[in-house]
Amino acid sequence: MQLKRKLTGALSLASCSLLGLPTAQAESQWDIETAVMYYSEKDRVTAIEPILGMKKELSDDEFLKLKFTLDSLTGASASGAVPSTQVQTFSTPSGNDTYVVAANETPLDPTFFDTRAQFSLGWDKPIKRTLRRNLGFNISKEYDFTSIAGNASWTWDTNLRNTSYTIGANIELDWIEPEGGAPLPLSSQDPDSSPPILRDGDSKQKQVYDLLLGVTQIIDRSSLVQFNLSLSLADGYLNDPYKLVSVVDSTAGPNEGEPVDQIYENRPDTRQRSALYSRYKKQLTNRDIFSISYRFMSDDWGIDSHTVDVSYRWRLNNGYFIQPGIRYYEQSAAHFYRYFLLDGDAIPGTVTADYRLGELTTQTIGVKFGYSGNKNNNWSIRLERYTQSGESHPDVAIGQLVNQNLYPDVDATIIQFNYAFLW
C-alpha cells in the first residue's frame, strides 16, 4: 500500500514535470537577481547603485516582479557656463553660498549630490492561451524629484507562437522641487545681488506619456528579431533648474568672449519623441550568442540620434562565458542649444547650454565575464569604459573662447557585479 502511494506520488511529480506544470516546491521559490553598479567620471560624478530584483511564479505562467534600487550620487556636474581667463564666482543652487571656478577651467557645480530610492512592481499574467497582460507600477524618490508611473501592456502570440505583438502604454507623473526653489527662466544669477537668484515657485510638475508598439519574430531555430516603435510626449517643466547659459562680451578687444552675465536656461514645455528600435539575436553553431541592436530616435526639439549596440557571448567550458560589447551613439543638437549667448543680442525665448542637448557622440566598450551554469548560483562582473565627446572648439567661439575647451570629453568607468540565485 505504501509502495503504491510512493509510486503514485512519483508518477504525479513526473507527469507534472513533463507537462511543465509548477510543483509546490517551484511555486514557493523566488528568482533573486542582485547587482551593484559603480560609475565614476574623471573629475566629475561618482555613483553607486545597488539593485535587488525578485521574481516569483504565482501560478502557471503568472509572474510577480519586484525591484528595489538605491542610487547615490556625488561629485560635480558641468553647469553650462563657459570658462573665462578670470576666476569666476557662482551662487550655489540654494542661493545661500558661493563657489569659485579657477581661470580657464570648465565651470562645474560642486554641490551635486543626491540619493534616489526606487521601487517597481510588475505583474505578468496570461489572460488567454495566447494573450498576456503586464501591469507595472514605479515610484522613485530623490532629494528634489519624485516620480510615480503606471503602465500596462498586452502581448499576443500568434503564428504558432513564432510572432508576438505587444502594445503598451505608460503614464509618468513627476514633481520637481529644486534646491531653494525653481529659478526664474532666463533670469540672471548674480552672487553680488540680494537675492542672487530670482525664483519662479518652489515646485514644478511634468507628465510623460508613452506608447509602445512591438513585434518579436522567431526567424529560425537559432535566431529572432524584434522591432519596437515608441512614441513619447513630455509636458510640463522640462528645464534643468541648475543649468546656466553664459552671456559673453561681443565687443572686439581684450574682453571679447569673457562672460558678463549668467542666465538660467529655458526649454520648451513640451517634447515629442519617436523611436524605432530593432534587435537581432542569433545563437551560432558553437552555441555562442551574437546580438546587435539599432535605435533611431527623433524629437521635435530637433534632436536625431542613432544608437548601435553589439555584443558577442562567447561560451566557455563548464558554464562560464565572456561577453565583449561595444555601443556607439550620436545625436544632433537641440535647435535651442547654444554654447553661449552674445551680449547685446536679444535673448531667445528658449535656450540651453546643457552639454547633453548639444551635438555629441559616445562610445562604450566593455566586457562581461561570468558563470551561468547553475540557476541557483549565477554571477557576472562587467567592466566598461564610456566616453562622450563633442565639438571642443566650435566655429562660433569668439575672443578668449577660441582658446578654451567648450565641450570637454566625459570619461567614465563602469563596474558592475551581478549575482542571481533561487530562494
Binding site: S147, A149, L160, E172, L213, Q217, A275, S278, R356, Y386
Partner: protein, 83 residues
C-alpha cells in the same frame, strides 16, 4: 535664399517615415518561424530579448542621464531627475 526648417513639421515627417518602415518590417516577417519541437534554443534564458534585465535597467539609467535619447526597448520615461 534662407531656408527655415520647422522642427515640428520635420518631426512629423520623420514619424511618418518611421511608421512606414515599421509596417514594411512587420509585413516582411510573415511566414518565418519554427515548429513547436524546434524551440530548444529559444527556450534558453540567454536567448530571451529581456535576458540580463538588470544590465538593461542600469544601462538605461546611465544613458538617460548622459544623453538626450531614451526608450526604444522599453518606455522612455526615466523616473529620475537626472535629465
Amino acid at each position: 535664399m534662407i531656408t527655415i526648417i520647422n522642427p515640428v513639421s520635420s518631426f512629423h515627417r520623420r514619424f511618418q517615415y518611421l511608421a512606414l518602415v515599421s509596417v514594411l518590417l512587420l509585413a516582411s516577417c510573415s511566414g518565418l518561424g519554427v515548429k513547436p519541437w524546434q524551440r530548444d534554443i529559444h527556450a534558453q534564458q540567454e536567448m530571451a530579448m529581456d535576458a540580463d534585465s538588470l544590465d538593461i535597467a542600469v544601462d538605461a539609467h546611465i544613458y538617460f542621464s548622459k544623453e538626450a535619447s531614451s526608450g526604444g526597448q522599453g518606455f522612455a520615461g526615466g523616473g529620475c531627475g537626472c535629465n
